[in-house]
Amino acid sequence: MKPAPFAYVRPQAWSEALSLLRDGARPLAGGQSLGPMLNLRLAQPGRLADLRHLPDFAGVVLADGICRIGAGTTHAAIEDGAVPGRLGAILAGVARRIAYRAVRNRGTIGGSLAHADPAADWVAVLPAFDGVAVALGPSGERRIPLAGFVCGVFETALRPDEVLRAIELPMLPPETGWGHWKFCRKPGEFSKATACLLARPGARSRAVLAALDGPPLVIADADALLAAPQAEAARVVAALDLPDPWRAALARTALHRAALAAKEGK
């Protein structure tokens, strides 16, 4: 339960952080996923680059209907209302159920997304929004659609010399429908199945099913799911051909319940 030795560096400028990455350092944000993996020696990086002290790593900026959330914004800040409006209310409801408050005080939205644990909450939810991950690399910022950002277990579309700088999400009208369901046998533990559905007025609904053994399943057109939650959830999950019947049942039920909740406008 003690990490293997590592060197620790605290870059003060983004350019310095990028050159550390180029030299093979592993980025560290809140450390709430990486910390346990270090202690368990599942991760044994030679060098950590602590991003927490970089300018504008945390914080929320609104401009032209887009909400830019700094990668270092903590779950607790989002839970406490850092993001305004309907979008903020939806994100706060997700944040509130991530692990425990002591973890949310340190853990960050960007760290969690870039870590890309298949059961993680932001991995399961962010693809539902029509947003982008902002990657910072040697040639500047690159925008990657969130729907394809996590592409495998602990695998993202970030290049080795890029760091996740921010997440940009469109603000939502107050009447946006939202449903979110997460199966945990105990509050705060890793999800066994997570599903969500975002129903934007005048646009196609989008759903995500996650905590599978791979990247999240993004259902780009979830209008059928909204119209017939039970039958459509059964059809979607049957097509995944999950090996364990109990996991298929959890995934099916999570998707069904998320769709029902979105219908009720919760």
Binding site: M1, A7, P36, Y100, N105, R106
Partner: protein, 161 residues
């Protein structure tokens, strides 16, 4: 691996020690500063026994490592002796029989104090959910939940009066 100077403010006092970056905060507090009130259970962020206040908010000291704690303000259970909310919680934990072996108690108290201050209107369901990141393996949660509710109710009565 080399050791580096780590400066922190612990329970209001500046401290400087030398540690490997990989040493976690709980080991620094217990081993270097002899503040053994912080307990270690699982050492991977699940059980909550090692919860301390880090830069003003509860955090797991077992998954924060020395390097990233350089410059931090830490408050351990020993740093709450003269805190009125903690005094009320200690009293309530005793009255409600909220501990037997006491291993989880320092982490429980730091979490409980945060609940009382951050969620003054919390009901039983909310208190149970907020305490779910702190495991107790002997007393069970009934007495602990009652103790936290007792302090919440006292404070609500007091603020009305």
């Amino acid at each position: 691996m080399s050791r580096h100077p780590i400066r922190m403010t612990v329970n209001g006092k500046p401290v400087e020690l030398v540690a490997e970056p990989r040493t976690h905060l709980a080991d620094l507090l217990r081993g270097e500063l002899l503040l053994t009130g912080t307990h270690l259970g699982c050492e991977h962020g699940v059980c909550g026994a090692c919860t301390v206040e880090l830069d003003g908010a509860p955090a797991r000291s077992c998954i924060s490592h020395a390097g990233s704690c350089d410059g931090a303000a830490v408050r351990t259970i020993e740093g709450f002796d003269s805190d009125p909310v903690m005094a009320a919680l200690r009293e309530a934990f005793s009255a409600e029989h909220a501990l037997q072996c006491g291993y989880c108690t320092p982490g429980m108290l730091i979490t409980a104090r945060d609940v009382v201050l951050r969620l003054p209107n919390a009901d039983e369901g909310q208190v149970r959910e907020e305490l779910s990141g702190n495991l107790c393996r002997c007393t069970g949660y009934r007495g602990i939940v009652r103790a936290v509710l007792r302090v919440l109710e006292e404070r609500r009565r007091h603020s009305k009066a």
